[in-house]
């Protein structure tokens, strides 16, 4: 059998293992180990097994990951999410579906200091869901907008997904983060429009609240200064070259901690909870990452990624069609797989294809992150939906999936916009030195 054939067989076995609930990292690692041993010999494979875990953990590149996760947990501890939601409510509450609009806007705001979609959804969910239900919002709309809004966590910087993508493809973390800003803001706007349309068609879903006087609204803006300050220090610091990504993350985590302390919200319990949540999330990511890196060694010797890249670049269709094919593949995979596993598995395979077709690597990073967002709210596996339906006892998982479906149209629109105008993502990073 050719080495490419062995590669394909390996992938098939790996998917089979995953289907039988072998942890994702182990599925990738076991197949990667045996495949690499078969093609390059046992000695090389055993040596790799000893070097990969320690070598990739004790590496400066990924120190940024736990620090950004910690920043998000400290921001939650400081109660910044509540302030964002209150302020957004004053501005949007009086519209039809206004509390749902406020929820997605507050999600966007929280995404600016939190790098994880699950954490953004969970944090905003605990605040926004009870408020919306209290005033009689439709449960599907309420849960759907939190699950969809939460996905903004990885598009608006900081973002764990951009970190992983940057690590895999050796792209600048700073540029990737900056490239997420404009599409992130556009997506928030598209979500607001989606809610406006949905509640215009059926006004019972989300009744309007009493209008807040303009003066009070402007006053309320001052309450979100902590979020703005953190975002400016962290992302601005990276933009102007004051900080490296790791430094920005550490300063951001420390700053969020100071806000929590100033608001007297640091207790022994809340502090250890935030720390443990950070270390276990990091360990979970590294558990998968180590497996994926071992699989990567195997894939490299099979030359599957290069063969695919050569195949696609020789196809008698335009690059746009190949990109559309890649997008459809991601939409399907995103429904079936965990988002992190999908990225770790597919980026090494698709990235050479994307490069061979002449697409900008930063632009593709943004497309990938939006596709991951889609995957987080599409069945059967949609982590954001699982989290939100776990929080809201009255809606089934299917109900939340239904609630998120209008937001998929908004995401599709954003993908189309980025295909037509790549500069939407690239104009900000281009100004960075």
């Amino acid at each position: 059998m050719s080495s490419t054939g062995i590669g394909a067989l390996g992938i098939a076995i790996m998917l089979l293992l995953m289907a039988f609930r072998v942890p994702i990292g182990v599925s990738m690692g076991v197949v990667g180990f045996f495949g690499f041993a078969y093609l390059s010999g046992w000695n090389a494979a055993l040596a790799m097994l000893g070097l990969v875990p320690y070598g990739n953990v004790a590496s400066f590149t990924l120190t940024v990951l736990p620090l950004f996760v910690l920043m998000g947990h400290f921001a939650t501890m400081a109660g910044l999410s509540q302030e964002l939601y209150d302020t957004a409510n004053r501005w949007f509450g009086h519209f039809r579906g206004g509390l749902a609009m406020a929820t997605v806007v507050a999600c966007g705001g929280f995404a600016a200091i939190c790098g994880s979609s699950l954490a953004t959804a969970a944090t905003m969910g605990t605040i926004a869901l009870p408020e919306m239900r209290k005033v009689g919002y439709n449960a599907k709309l309420a849960t759907g907008c939190v699950a969809a809004g939460g996905t903004l966590g990885i598009l608006i910087p900081p973002s764990v997904m951009f970190l992983i993508y940057g690590f895999l493809t050796e792209q600048s973390i700073g540029k990737l983060f900056l490239a997420g800003i404009a599409p992130g803001i556009v997506l928030v706007a598209l979500f607001v429009v989606t809610i406006a349309v949905v509640t215009w068609v059926n006004p019972v879903l989300g009744p309007a609240m009493v209008r807040t006087p303009v003066l009070e609204r402007i006053k309320a803006l001052r309450r979100v200064w902590a979020v703005i300050a953190l975002f400016f220090v962290v992302i601005g610091g990276m933009y102007f070259g004051v900080f490296t990504a790791t430094e920005a993350a550490a300063v951001g985590a420390f700053g969020a901690f100071l806000f929590a302390a100033a608001r007297r919200r640091v207790t022994w319990r809340s502090l250890t909870d935030a720390l443990v949540a950070t270390t276990t999330t990091t360990a979970m990511i590294f558990g998968i990452l180590i497996g994926a890196i071992i699989l990567g060694y195997f894939m490299a010797v099979t030359k599957v990624p290069m063969a695919l890249a050569a195949f696609f670049s020789r196809l008698p269709v335009s690059a746009t069609w190949v990109m559309i094919f890649i997008i459809i593949t991601y939409v399907i995979l995103g429904g079936l797989m965990d988002s992190l596993a999908m990225v770790l598995l597919t980026v090494p395979i698709f990235f050479p294809v994307v490069q061979a077709l002449g697409y900008d690597p930063i632009w593709f990073g943004v497309m990938l992150v939006i596709l991951v967002e889609v995957g987080l709210i599409t069945p059967p596996i949609g982590m954001n939906v699982f989290v939100i339906s776990g929080m809201s006892k009255e809606v089934s998982i299917q109900g939340v999936f239904l609630g998120t479906s209008p937001f998929l149209i908004a995401m599709g629109l954003l993908l189309a916009l980025l295909m037509l105008f790549p500069d939407l993502a690239l104009f900000i990073p281009r100004t960075m030195k």
């Binding site: 039988f20 072998v22 076991v30 040596a47 875990p53 400066f60 736990p66 420390f254 270390t279 276990t280």
Partner: protein, 159 residues
């Protein structure tokens, strides 16, 4: 589960938390030193790398105890309880073997680093103790997986 193993994992968890706190502190002090006092912390970069070892390897086992390692649950939920337990046993056994092999090879790597007397470039800290620490972390993870395997096996016999 043995009280001893649970205790050891608890200690590893604390080491991991301290690693995270120290890593944040080292980086913040480095930045503050550079911009406020014009004196960066020497070797801050490699300190962060070494602290990552405690942070990540210390947290593997406790993440396993909390069921934090991701798997996909599509096919298996449709099976009978016994068949499901059989799948879980297989998955846990394969995980044990994988992380056991990593523990074995990491220990050998630690030995090599020790013999070669490798040190970090700036602070000249010996690297071997950190690789040993990593080995302890993967060993605890492997032992936690053994416990999971046995628990799943019990459910095969008596679902």
């Amino acid at each position: 589960m043995g009280a001893l193993l649970r205790g050891a994992i608890g200690v590893a968890n604390v080491v991991s938390l301290l690693g995270l706190v120290a890593m944040t502190a080292v980086t913040v002090v480095d930045v503050a030193g550079r911009y406020l006092f014009n004196r960066p912390l020497p070797g801050a970069l490699e300190l962060s790398e070494l602290l990552m070892v405690f942070l990540v390897f210390g947290a593997f086992a406790v993440t396993e105890l909390r069921n934090g390692h991701v798997d996909i649950d599509v096919v298996v939920t449709k099976l009978s309880p016994r068949a499901r337990a059989l799948c879980e046993t297989f998955a846990a056994l394969l995980s044990t073997a994988f992380w056991g092999a990593i523990t074995w090879r990491t220990a050998l790597h630690a030995q090599n680093v020790w013999r070669a007397g490798e040190t970090t470039p700036n602070l000249s800290l010996p690297i071997a103790p950190f690789v040993w620490a990593a080995t302890v972390g993967t060993l605890l993870f492997t032992l936690a997986l053994v416990v999971r395997t046995l628990a799943a096996l019990r459910r095969v016999v008596r679902p």
